[in-house]
């Protein structure tokens, strides 16, 4: 049905003359759809709704953005759809999560890779952190690594699944500290992984900085280290992994942003790339994001392209051993 409508709309545009279509002078003429490959209410969905709420303003796109959730299989369902079925006409955008979709494409079994999409702009970066329960005997990463060296493969810690940022962080920690760990992927995502830490089912966990920050405020966990290049403004007292002597970069940081399918006309991509970062900088958006404890990190199209290419290399290397 939707395809039929889209087809009819396409035919109408064709009838209206190709001159307009080439210049894209009046783009966008109707509301834009943003596909989110996670369920309503999740962190990606929640942030996507905030950062696009001012899309209808005259200084932004001038047209509202509607969110469509296509969730399932850790985001694979949505991105598969986006790579194979979404119309490349500029009216269908998608939200990306790095390193998730690149890691999944390296693992295989999906019909997309970094080449299937054209990034527009990045809105957020949520680093992974290492958490332990508030009553844990571990007080620093060296305590954790010491225990792991004494008990190879005996340190259980949770994360949101395989081939997501948390898993990448876990692999990096194993490699950098030279220890064997027992990573327990949780089927209920970050929230489930956090519950496992708080209830003591596992000894520690990798989790999102934003969720860990809330849990620490609630007094249920201690945060031992950040998997990023710099300390985070939400947690100025928590040292990075690098500071604690482990050679771990920001490969596991969960970058979120918007993209369009490959084949979208270049003028439309340019138009979006020029306007969307400004839309993210809107003061109302910033206020809501800070209130929700979601760290923002705005990047332009060129910066994102560079980041995607860098991730592709690191992740291929890291996942080669699996």
């Amino acid at each position: 049905m939707k395809k039929w409508i889209a087809g009819a709309a396409l035919a109408l545009t064709a009838l209206a003359g190709t001159a307009n279509a080439e210049s894209h002078g009046s783009y966008p003429e109707r509301p834009i759809m943003l596909m989110v490959s996670y369920g309503a209410g999740g962190a990606t969905d929640f942030q996507a709704r905030i950062v696009t709420m001012t899309a209808g303003n005259d200084d932004a796109l001038g047209m509202p953005i509607a969110i469509i959730n296509k969730s399932g299989a850790g985001g694979r369902v949505g991105w598969n759809w986006f790579a194979t079925q979404a119309e490349a006409d500029g009216y269908t955008m998608g939200a990306y999560n790095i390193p998730h979709f690149i890691a999944q494409s390296i693992e295989g079994g999906v019909s997309y890779s970094a080449d299937s999409f054209e990034p527009i702009a990045n809105w957020g970066a949520d680093p992974a952190v290492f958490v332990v329960a508030a009553d844990s005997e571990f007080n620093s990463m060296s305590d954790v690594v010491e225990f792991a060296s004494a008990n190879p493969g005996g340190l259980t810690f949770s994360g949101a699944g395989l081939f997501v940022g948390h898993h990448i962080a876990a692999l990096q920690l194993e490699k950098a500290a030279g220890v064997k760990l027992a990573y327990i992927p949780n089927n209920a995502g970050g929230a489930g992984a956090m519950r496992a830490v708080i209830s003591g089912e596992v000894m520690g966990g990798v989790n999102n900085l934003s969720d860990a920050f809330r849990a620490q405020e609630a007094g249920t966990v201690k945060i031992l280290g950040v998997f990023d290049l710099e300390r985070n403004e939400f947690l100025p007292d928590v040292p990075t992994m690098m500071e604690q002597g482990y050679d771990i970069d920001n490969s596991s940081v969960n970058f979120r942003g918007v993209m369009v399918p490959k084949g979208t006309p270049q003028p439309i991509i340019d138009h979006l790339a020029a306007t969307v970062p400004g839309m993210f900088e809107n003061a109302r958006v910033q206020r809501r994001m800070t209130a929700g404890g979601s760290p923002m990190h705005i990047m332009t199209r060129d910066e994102v392209l560079e980041m995607w290419a860098a991730r592709q290399v690191t992740l291929e290397e890291l996942l080669a051993g699996l």
């Binding site: 709420m53 992927p185 089927n187 519950r195 405020e217 609630a218 929700g292």
Partner: protein
Amino acid sequence: MQFLYYLDDVFTITNFALLLLGTVGGLILGATPGLSPTMAVALLIPFTFKLEPQQGLILLGAAYTSTVAGGAVSAILLKIPGAPANIATTLDGHTMAQKGEGARALQLSFLASAVGGIFGVFLLIFLTPVLAKWALAFGPSHLFWMAILGVTVIGTLDSSSVVKGLLAGCIGLWLSTIGFDDIMGAQRFIFHDAVAGGINVIPALIGLFAIPQVIMMLTKGRTDQSAEVITVKKHPIGQAFREIIAKRTAVIIGTITGSIIGLIPGVGGQIAGLVAYDQSKKFSKESEKFGTGHSEGVIAAESANNAMVGPSLVPLLTLSIPGSPTAAVLLGGLLIHGIFPGPDLFINYPAVAWTFIDSMLIGQILMCIFGLYIAGLAASVARVPHSVMAGLVLGLAVFGSYSVQNSMGDVYVMAALGIGMYFLERFGFSAAPLVLGLILGPIAEANFIQGSMIANATVGMGTYFFSGWLNWLLILIVLASVSYSIWMEIAQRRYTAKEDIV
């Protein structure tokens, strides 16, 4: 007693108007097949952007309570459970509606919902700190045994024989493995893109329950219409009150089961109704009447699924961990207003937190009043001629399955499962155990894998799954449940097919 102090905040004009809006809107959304409470709350969140935090939460709280109860309407009248929570309601509720007792079934379901719901919210108010510890007590091994307990229920649930019930359950368990697996990301049985994300429970529910109905109605199309007309019996509300009091065992079993199960993260809402139904069947003196339009079945199922609403929010409000999909959506609604749930939620934002809880309490009562009001009118649905009804239900089924994820794939899944179920029903299988298998499969599997990973890294499988009082308690209940089923099977020798299956 702080909740009393903030009670008048609910009754300011704007807040009360929002509460009414949430309740009535929630009932309508809940009665629409495919719109589960989780979806209804998610749909409402953007509307709260413009509201004060307190007002936004009143709207969400009222909508959550009333969608759960609203699901009973379509379950009873159309045999389409609005959400997994309402599966058990269809078993006796729809049979009652077919007998012309739709009004009675709806009135009882709303009254039972209100009793269960109010009890659940009171648990949330008074026992939150105690309950939070209980919610954390369930690790992978316990959740695994919980799921196995659910599987043992399958056999006795609405089937002509235990064997057929278990077989239907196995089909459900197999269906649940389709798609990318949750933990490892391996692909299983994906022959078409439509099932890459697995079989979503809501379209499956709609297909399995509604489509066989539609086909059955169409096959009856050539028979004489006039013989089919059902007289809808009027049912005074006072009588419904008396019946609730008379059937108090069912209410008590439903409420307690619902509250306890609602607390368990990840399992709660989906199976509370079914477990309560099964328990009250086993404890009832008239257990043979269950499934034939017995009011205790409706009462137990509905009091359980509303009793779980309050406790299911305990882990969210105290530990900031969403225990159910709906709680996860509510967490988004809280964060968007800059409110971080946690132990100091009630200290930092007492006005918001208590008003939210109060709105759920008042919402339950309003929901009950509105529900009782519409019950008499809605019951006349049973008088709609079959030919018209078939078209209507089919339309709702397609709409409901499509709207879950805006995907035609779900509609295909719904249709395929529905047609398959029609033939299975002719052989005496029923849909409820199949759906239960579909729901329990992922819970059992994911927790077994997580548990075994933890066990292998630490104490070993045997110790991990077979130590601790909670594990043993659950194992004992499983054994008791199995032996009861075997005993029943031998005692009754229920080998004959059900009469209503042609």
